[in-house]
């Protein structure tokens, strides 16, 4: 948090407008392109009609509930077959791929179907999980954190994985050797700082993280924090400004 003087300027400009426009200021982030007209119409309708506002709130809540439903915990499977099966089932249901120790990669086909014969591997630990693009969130991570012998985890392009989720990964510190977070839109350098617990990590992929403010500097700091780990990320020279004598 910077020194608090900065907000005074902002607050006085908010106050000059009426109470309605407090929300207007936060809409300065305008979506580009042809979406803008459709958006503007929806905003107009929601501002002026309670029913439209209520309907849109309802639709938003439904979307949120859908993600929650996908991340529910399978307590029945966990009690009956053990944490490895429950974790594997969760990943396969989300559309990811899972690899048991000594077995091949298993993944659901395009239509979300997968065979259930991994249920016989109750005592076999899960070695690697590829959850790229899955809708895993903080709650759903419970299922993955129970896999105590997990060595490789890939969370590439997961839209709901954020800094809070990364703060939970310390539970896998005993076994995790490979982690990939490339392309996650909500992961920032604050979440990457919590990875210092994972002392066994050997490969970490933090490339293409849009929420990280300083990709080059972050990569250097993460490399300092995890000395035994190979960090794949932005080039450290990216974002550096040339000094006056270096500019040709």
């Amino acid at each position: 948090m910077a020194a608090p003087r900065a907000f005074l300027h902002l607050a006085s400009s908010i106050w000059k407008w009426g109470p309605r426009d407090i929300r207007g200021l936060s809409r300065t982030v305008a979506p580009e392109g042809s979406q803008r007209k459709g958006r503007a119409l929806l905003q107009f309708l929601a501002d002026h009609f309670y029913d439209v506002e209520a309907l849109r709130e309802y639709l938003f809540r439904k979307q949120v509930l859908k993600v929650h439903q996908k991340n529910r915990s399978f307590t029945h499977i966990k009690e009956q077959y053990g944490p490895y099966i429950a974790g594997a089932y969760f990943v396969l249901k989300q559309g990811g791929a899972v690899k048991f120790q000594g077995q091949e990669w298993m993944q659901s086909n395009g239509r979300g179907r997968f065979s259930l014969d991994f249920f016989k591997f109750q005592a076999v630990p899960v070695e690697a999980v590829d959850a790229s693009g899955c809708a895993i969130n903080y709650q759903g991570l419970d299922n993955l954190l129970a896999l105590k012998e997990l060595q490789s985890l890939s969370l590439q392009r997961c839209p709901h994985v954020d800094d809070w989720c990364l703060s939970r990964l310390h539970q896998l510190a005993g076994s995790l050797q490979e982690l990939s977070l490339a392309g996650c839109p909500q992961v920032s350098e604050r979440g990457l700082a919590c990875l210092h617990h994972l002392q066994k990590l050997r490969r970490l992929d933090i490339s293409d993280l849009p929420a990280v403010s300083n990709p080059g500097l972050t990569r250097i700091l993460v490399e300092e924090m995890l000395p035994n780990c190979e960090v794949l990320g932005a080039d450290w020279a990216q974002g550096l400004k040339l000094g006056p004598e270096e500019q040709s």
């Binding site: 948090m1 020194a3 407090i22 703060s167 350098e189 700082a193 919590c194 500097l217 700091l221 924090m225």
Partner: protein
């Protein structure tokens, strides 16, 4: 056939009162009167409001949010939030360092903090407004590291046991483990350390405040920029079961005075919530709390007063790296990392004798030189060479009785509810306290977290609920 000349609700005896009201209105309309229909009154608060919340900081807005969220029917409760400073220049919320931890010794505090962190994690579901961008709280989930000397080690172990029972993820570390994990710490004098692994860290309080403000406005809460100067209340004398006489007061009107003018608006209200932070004591005095012989319930004041605390921002090029948690030293000095450029924020709570004058928010830089820096340099040798970049001061709404919050109604002024006095951990407990006060107002008792130990009556009964560590 009877012809009803008046509307059926009017009882004949009401007519006299109505006549005098009509006469007063006619007099004000005539030239020289007070009513001027062309005068813009949009800055004045409404004339009636079910609930008036005095104080628009994070606690006041949290109460407003939960009142609107837990109301039985949409639009059932009219809420008005009154704050005298729309820039929040002296509000404790925005001047706070923004930390949140579960490492308390009281189970109630731990539960409050656990719910609040849950709220913050799902803030975009709680505070979602249609068409507005999601909030980015900038939460750093790096945990708190509390260091204890030989004397405090037993207390710390006990505290950690209570915290684990409530569900907080805290681990104990020996000096050896500390040195392995954080090589930049000098563990001399440290017997034990407790480290929060999850759900602890720091965030941007301004973002939370703006998010709450935006959401409660969309829920229909009215805001007023003004100062509360007077409460009009009525008293009732009643007898308790044992025959003692008690005077119960009920606040009927709140006078809100506009900024830089003598104009005021009386707001008729049913419930008043005192969330005025460091100035809650003054608001309580206005309501007549504490005006009575000392030692009685009428004479028990609200023991909340403003206390000034300094926060310093310094740069140290060789300082601890990215994994630095929020470190609290055995001496009470604390610091945390700020941003990626080797900047750190920190400070220390002064002892009772060194308390600075809370009249203004001027920063005393000598305090850093004399009281903060030596401890910092002793604990983290890299901090021997540092450069202070800036500093600011903020108020704690300090509860002089036991440094924990006051929540719930006053026993005598029956419709004033408190949500104040948290002495430096108000921000991290605000969402949960807001819900507790809303439950108290709507249901009459606490439903989710039992905050009965934090009621006002403990000041009269002398029952202190004290914490072991405060920062």
């Amino acid at each position: 056939m009877k012809c009803v000349a008046f509307s059926p609700q009017l009882h004949p005896t009401d007519w006299d009162g109505k006549v005098s009201d009509i006469k007063k209105k006619i007099q004000s309309v005539l030239p020289g009167g007070a009513w001027n229909p062309l005068y813009d009154t949009s800055h004045l608060p409404p004339e009636h409001s079910d609930v008036v919340i005095v104080g628009g900081g994070v606690l006041g807005l949290s109460v407003a949010y939960w009142l609107k969220r837990l109301e039985k029917r949409r639009g059932a409760i009219q809420v008005l939030v009154v704050d005298r400073d729309y820039t929040y220049s002296q509000a404790s919320t925005v001047l706070s360092v923004g930390g949140i931890r579960q490492q308390f010794s009281l189970p109630e505090n731990i539960q409050l903090s656990l719910f609040s962190v849950d709220f913050l994690r799902n803030i975009n579901e709680y505070l979602a407004v249609v068409d507005d961008p999601p909030l980015d709280l900038q939460f750093n989930p790096l945990g708190y590291l509390l260091l204890a000397s030989e004397k405090g080690a037993a207390i710390m172990e006990n505290n950690v046991k209570v915290q684990r029972q409530e569900g907080a993820k805290v681990c104990l570390m020996s000096p050896e483990q500390l040195r392995n994990k954080f090589p930049w710490i000098n563990t001399e004098g440290v017997a034990l350390a407790s480290y929060g692994l999850e759900n602890e860290g720091w965030f941007d309080p301004w973002c939370l405040l703006q998010g709450l403000r935006r959401k409660v406005q969309s829920m229909g809460v009215r805001f007023c920029h003004g100062e509360v100067t007077r409460f009009i209340s009525s008293s009732d004398r009643m007898e308790t079961a044992s025959g003692e006489e008690v005077t119960l007061k009920r606040i009927h009107e709140v006078h809100v005075k506009m900024d830089r003018s003598l104009e005021y608006q009386p707001v008729e209200c049913a419930i008043v919530i005192n969330a005025a932070g460091a100035w809650s004591g003054q608001i309580a005095e206005l309501a007549g709390i504490g005006k009575g012989p000392p030692g009685t319930l009428q004479g028990t004041k609200l023991p909340v007063e403003p206390r000034k605390r300094y926060v310093y921002l310094w740069h140290c090029p060789q300082g601890p790296g990215l994994e630095t948690p929020f470190v609290t030293d055995t001496s009470g000095t604390y610091f945390r990392r700020e941003g990626l450029g080797n900047n750190y924020l920190g400070g220390c709570s002064p002892t009772e004798e060194e308390e600075p004058d809370p009249g203004n928010l001027e920063v005393d830089h000598d305090f850093f030189q004399d009281k903060v820096w030596p401890h910092l340099a002793q604990r983290v040798p890299a901090f021997e060479s540092l450069k202070v970049r800036s500093a600011w001061a903020g108020y704690y709404d300090y509860n002089t009785f036991d440094q924990n919050g006051v929540v719930g109604p006053h026993p005598l002024v029956v419709n004033m509810y408190f949500a104040t006095g948290f002495s430096g951990h108000g921000l991290q407990q605000a969402p949960a306290v807001g819900r507790a006060v809303a439950e108290m107002v709507l249901e009459g008792h606490f439903q989710t977290i039992n905050l009965n130990p934090f009621l006002f009556s403990r000041f009269y009964l002398g029952e202190k609920v004290e914490e072991r560590n405060i920062i």
